[in-house]
């Protein structure tokens, strides 16, 4: 060693220089192969970005379905190629806008989607038959979305999009009225089974490690959680035996963060593809190669953005976006540079879309597939991350799997410790942040434009719409559908055919959620100081 020891962000020792010696054990056909072929390390598709560039998709939504619809139209006009819908916190909690519990929350941190009418409004005029949609929720809103699509004459068998449905990210929110992990797993698996039948091109789950990563976990811990959770879902279906595993797994999708350590993030996505291939093929013996393709949406890491000198975030986001591209992501969200300061301005939204378009069209990085494949360093990091991820998965499985580890409080203890650890490293300077703990000005050198939403009236607007909506619905049909839904929740049956029927006759999101949670009782989160 010529110089001081360096480490990657996840603590992997990094050498001065990498040579053929570091990749001598690599078997090209077995460990890499070409893109679109097992083990898919170099990419899930044969042509990758030469055939089709990644989907540009910003997670967004605010105030009301009406105002969010305007935003989605604007994003589409700017060249966004997928929609991505962030429901507000009431929708994550599972109550309707007129619930006293959410008096101060409507339209903050997303848009309220309480009824099929809200969903209809949010997507009015948007080409959802051509463009795929991501819904950051766990099932019932997707059922409403399917009903809206049907009403518009779209064949559900052709409908493309993704439902979040991931317990890892949901559990990070630490919000009330949530079922315990086993309840969450049950409804999640119900939803996947149901989608595999009614909407086979829809991704019914998006295993998502973005939130835990952003709370301070490192790259291989992120992947470890991601796959441990995915394994839980497969194990649950294996236990049930209702849907063949190849059909169950075929539309699994994934979501990770792109953090600061450029090469490690690239290696992470490459390693993830090889690990997923091995889980599907070696562990579960699923033969359909489509099931073994790790398809991933990557979002730049919000926790790396700073309120100090916000334009610096543009640079961070561009590097993180480039890491996602060089890693071979299928869909990317470049954050707004101002998200540590406010909800993104129109200018910031434009820059976010432009960041991806410039990477796609100007930099030439899309010219060839997996351009870093074969790099002594990147291959070595990919191997190292894979190995550490397997160890992490094993540790979680030894605890009884992800849902059990959540139930026992392990996951929340981890989530509590990581941000504190990260802050201590920031305070000590171990993690340098330019403009914050390094090169910080006494006084902020400039200001950026601010967007200040005014959701003050959103609650009244939504509550009034709900009142009318409930008045209008056929009360007998609604009562009957709710009765059947509650019965299904209390049985072993798949609840989603009943959710679908219920939302079509006017059941609200709050009503459906209540029926689901009541069976298990509210799970009090184990987060404390």
């Amino acid at each position: 060693m010529q110089t001081e020891q360096h480490f990657s962000a996840s603590g992997i020792p990094i050498k001065d220089i990498y040579t053929p010696e570091d990749t001598k054990d690599l078997d090209y056909d077995k460990d890499l192969g070409i893109a679109g072929e097992p083990p898919f390390t170099r990419g899930p598709y044969t042509t990758m970005y030469r055939g089709q560039v990644w989907t540009i998709r910003r997670l967004s939504g605010f105030n009301t379905p009406e105002e969010s619809n305007k935003l989605y139209r604007q994003e589409y006009e700017l060249g966004q190629t997928g929609f991505s819908v962030a429901p507000d916190i009431t929708t994550s909690v599972g109550v309707d806008a007129d619930d006293p519990m959410v008096e101060y929350e409507i339209g903050h941190s997303g848009l309220p989607l309480n009824s099929i009418e809200d969903v209809e409004t949010a997507f009015e005029g948007l080409p959802i038959d051509k463009v795929s949609t991501y819904l950051a929720e766990r099932g019932p809103i997707t059922a409403m979305y399917f009903a809206v699509a049907e009403k518009r004459g779209i064949d559900l068998k052709q409908l493309r999009g993704t439902t979040a449905g991931c317990m890892l990210s949901w559990a990070c929110l630490n919000i009330p009225l949530q079922p315990p992990p086993r309840g969450y797993l049950r409804y999640g698996v119900d939803f996947i089974e149901w989608c595999s039948e009614v909407a086979p091109r829809w991704n019914p789950i998006n295993h998502d490690s973005y939130n835990p990563r952003d709370l301070g976990l490192n790259a291989f811990e992120e992947l470890g959680l991601l796959f441990a959770a995915a394994i839980d879902f497969i194990e649950e279906e294996k236990r049930r035996g209702r849907v063949p595993l190849d059909r169950f797994v075929r539309r699994f999708s994934f979501n990770t963060a792109a953090h600061n350590d450029f090469f490690e993030e690239i290696a992470k996505i490459r390693a993830a593809r090889r690990i997923w291939y091995k889980i599907v093929t070696d562990r579960y013996g699923i033969q359909d190669p489509n099931c073994a393709k790790f398809r991933v949406h990557v979002q730049s890491s919000g926790s790396t953005h700073t309120a100090q000198e916000p334009y610096n975030n543009l640079i961070r986001i561009a590097y993180q976006t480039l890491a996602a591209v060089l890693g071979g992501a299928q869909s990317i969200h470049a954050n707004g540079y101002d998200e540590a300061v406010c909800l993104p301005t129109d200018q910031s939204m434009l820059l976010s879309i432009r960041t991806e378009q410039i990477a796609a069209l100007e930099t030439g990085v899309t010219n060839t597939i997996d351009p870093l494949g074969g790099s002594y360093y990147v291959e070595s990091l990919t191997n190292e991350l894979e190995e550490r991820t397997w160890e992490y998965i094993k540790m979680i499985e030894d605890m009884g799997g992800m849902a059990q580890a959540m139930q026992d409080g392990w996951y929340h203890r981890l989530l509590r410790e990581k941000p504190i650890e990260r802050q201590q490293k920031v305070d000590s300077g171990e993690i340098p942040i330019v403009g914050v703990n390094t090169f910080r000005f006494e006084k902020e050198p400039y200001k950026v434009p601010i967007f200040k939403p005014d959701p003050a009236t959103s609650r009244e607007i939504q509550a009034e719409k709900l009142r009318k909506f409930r008045e209008k619905r056929d009360k007998a049909k609604h009562a009957e559908a709710m009765k059947r839904l509650v019965e299904a929740c209390n049985s072993d049956e798949n609840v989603y055919p009943y959710v679908f029927e219920a939302v079509k006759v006017g059941a609200t999101f709050g009503e459906v959620s209540k029926a689901q949670v009541d069976v298990y009782g509210e799970w009090p989160y184990p987060i404390g100081l």
Binding site: Y104, N174, A340, P419, Q423, G528
Partner: protein, 134 residues
């Protein structure tokens, strides 16, 4: 000054899920020697009730959505109703600068945006509470 005599209630007023900042600051306060009650997510009414019941000296609210202009006044009303109008009220998170004046007029003593060094928050609390304990 004996810091352990200073009691601090740390909360998110409302249901918003971004609690990392709250737990980080709460932990730093505890390490600095204050007695910290980690309230997590609470309604404004619960914040006021808990502050009164625990007879705290300081209430720290974290907000990463713009709903602080609704929740903070509600907390202040509740505190006054319970005779706790004298607590030192802190607000942290993504707070719009053009709300600072209005918030201070309402009675928010300190506002801390992301990236504020922990030491700065701790020193602020020490200074402002030094008269509260013998």
């Amino acid at each position: 000054m004996d810091e352990s005599k200073i009691k601090i209630l740390m909360v998110k007023a409302g249901l918003e899920g971004h609690w990392a900042g709250l737990i980080v600051v709460s932990n730093a306060m505890r390490d600095a020697g204050f007695e910290v009650i980690y309230g997590g997510n609470m309604t404004p009414a619960e914040v006021a009730a808990t502050a009164a019941q625990e007879d705290v000296n300081v209430v720290g609210i974290s907000s990463l959505t713009a709903n602080y202009m609704l929740t903070v006044p509600a907390v202040i009303r509740g505190l006054k109703e319970r005779g706790k109008g004298d607590v030192l009220l802190l607000l942290g998170g993504t707070i719009y600068e053009d709300d600072f004046d209005a918030l201070k007029k309402m009675g928010v003593a300190g506002i801390f945006t992301p990236g504020t060094p922990m030491e700065e928050i701790i020193n602020f609390v020490r200074e402002k509470t030094s008269a509260m304990v013998k």
